[in-house]
């Protein structure tokens, strides 16, 4: 399973369990549509930190980075490239 599929599955299970993963478009705006609220964002970031071993406590996080599944995937990609924070 690709990382983007994995993120989609998590978002659907956590925030919209009544839909199928293939019904959530990777570019769907999760924030403007009220699917992920500010507390939900913290849960999502916590999950990303554990699942992909990212030092999320040390990264400067902006909500924009989590606007859609594709944006989340890009965030993970760039965090992995940078490697663990010193």
């Amino acid at each position: 399973m690709s990382r983007i599929d994995e993120i989609t599955r998590y978002v659907v299970a956590e925030f919209a369990p009544d839909i199928r993963a293939d019904e959530l478009d990777a570019d769907y705006d999760l924030l403007d549509n009220g699917v992920v609220d500010s507390l939900g964002l913290l849960r999502l970031i916590g999950w990303l930190g554990e699942r992909y071993d990212l030092p999320v406590d040390d990264i400067d996080l902006a909500p924009e980075q989590f606007r859609s599944v594709r944006a989340v995937d890009a965030f993970v990609e760039s965090a992995l490239v940078k490697g663990p924070a010193l």
């Binding site: 919209a16 839909i19 009220g34 609220d37 500010s38 507390l39 406590d57 400067d60 902006a62 909500p63």
Partner: protein
């Protein structure tokens, strides 16, 4: 313009006025920003209010100050209010233009012939209503003046005072932490409302300067204490407001704020701060909402708290909404909707709500308004929105939907629909489709308690 401005920002003030995301803005720089915004306002046709679509930042603070200086009433809805609802509010207030923090302006296209009377009004704030739209609360400048005078005295805000501002810019709380402070030459640390739950960000913002006064909802203190590893001895006033502070959280505040007076402030957008109480962190009981502050009158009618304050709006912009403002012996009072009891010392305690309002992340939210928004969706036959208690949010909203026959709306389409009509805090966190009839009480009303009990 300069003359007016001196009443809004202390004209002699020097040094730092604002800090935002690590960057300081001096009073000199703030005055320049206000001047830029004022010149944009001067180019717009007069006699009409403007709409502001802004989040908290030095530029948006300057824009608000410029509106005041130019005596231009300004509608300040929540930044995350749905676009359809925002447009309806701009129409209701007669706004000809909407301004953004970067001073770009958008013509609303609304005709100029239906501008309500806003003589003496500065801010037009919003609060949750039971109809589909938020209610617009026009605040008189005289009330704002009286409030900032009171707040400066009550919390000792003077030149050089460092005050932390947590609430979004559209909240009445900013009258205390931002507008009172700037009028008296203090230094405001602005928390970015987009990062309001990011504990490490909050700690950085809070420790940028030696904060003396802080006002925030309980959620802020919970977040801050999660990451703080040493106390804040410089803080002398801690105000918790907007929602009942859990006793276990209150009990931990003295360790982190050893030199602070801890107080609960109770108020609402319509009347501003009304009651105040010295919180006892050792009691373990729910904190009372308090006693009337100077000049405020309070009474109880059928268990419901009524207040009359020197700061109040006295009306909604839509004068057809009359259920809350009542005339008693020629005076205008607000029915708060809060059910209270008064103890032997005259202190008020909160027992609950007379209507369907709850606080979601500190924001007053009317369940009826959310239900009306959902009901307006073509595939929704019937809906009940439940407020499910939540440790962090206070409450989270859960919608139970009966769909129109042959349709199957999903939680994404329904929440997108709500997001156009409601503030983000009012969009349900979860949506459930059911084929069952809703349970009814003996009087035929939907049995919300039963629905809730089945789901908690």
């Amino acid at each position: 313009m300069g003359d007016h401005l001196s009443g809004l920002v202390d004209s002699r003030a020097k040094g730092t006025a604002l800090t935002f995301n690590g960057a300081d803005v001096s009073y000199r720089e703030l005055r320049a920003l206000v001047g830029d915004a004022a010149r944009v306002l001067q180019r717009l046709p007069g006699g009409r209010p403007v709409g502001l679509r802004v989040r908290k930042s030095p530029e948006s603070v300057a824009l608000v100050l410029a509106c005041w200086a130019e005596r231009r009433p300004f509608l300040l809805p929540p930044y995350d209010l749905g676009v359809d609802a925002s447009a309806a509010l701009y129409r209701q207030a007669g706004c000809g233009h909407v301004l953004h923090a970067d001073l770009t302006t958008v013509d609303t296209g609304e005709p100029a012939d239906e501008v309500p009377d806003l003589d003496g009004v500065g801010p037009l704030l919003t609060t949750s209503g039971s109809t589909g739209l938020p209610k617009v609360v026009p605040l008189p400048d005289t009330g704002v003046d009286r409030f900032t005078d009171w707040a400066a005295g009550a919390f000792g805000i003077t030149g050089g005072s460092v005050v932390f501002s947590y609430a979004p810019l559209n909240f009445d709380l900013c009258l205390l932490d931002i507008w009172t402070t700037l009028r008296h030459g203090g230094h405001v640390l602005l928390a970015d409302q987009e990062r309001a739950l990011d504990a490490r960000y909050l700690l950085r913002a809070f420790t940028h300067a030696r904060v003396e006064v802080v006002q925030a909802v309980p959620l802020f203190y919970r977040r801050l204490l999660e990451v703080a590893d040493s106390p804040f001895p410089g803080v002398r006033e801690v105000v918790h407001t907007g929602d009942a502070i859990p006793p276990e959280l209150l009990a931990r505040l003295p360790e982190f704020f050893p030199n602070a007076r801890l107080r609960n402030v109770y108020g609402c957008t319509e009347t501003n701060d009304s009651l105040i109480h010295d919180s006892d962190p050792t009691s373990g009981d729910p904190v009372p909402i308090g006693s009337p502050i100077d000049g405020v009158q309070a009474r109880v009618d059928g268990g419901e708290l009524l207040v009359r304050t020197p700061f109040q709006a006295g009306r909604y912009l839509d004068t057809a909404i009359t259920d809350r403002w009542v005339d008693i012996d020629g005076e205008t009072w607000l029915r708060t909707g809060d059910l209270v009891r008064r103890d032997a010392d005259g202190v008020f305690h909160l027992d609950g709500r007379a209507d369907h309002q709850v606080k979601v992340r500190g924001v007053r939210t009317n369940l009826r308004q959310v239900e009306q928004a959902l009901q307006a969706h073509g595939e929704v036959a019937d809906v009940v929105v439940l407020a499910v208690p939540d440790d962090e949010a206070g409450y989270r909203l859960h919608a139970v939907i009966r769909a129109v026959d042959g349709t199957r709306p999903n939680s994404l389409t329904l929440r997108s629909h709500c997001a156009r009509l409601l503030p983000r805090t009012a969009v349900p966190s979860s949506v459930e489709l059911t084929a069952d009839e809703f349970p009814r009480t003996s009087t035929g009303k939907v049995d919300r308690k039963k629905l809730l009990a089945e789901r908690v």
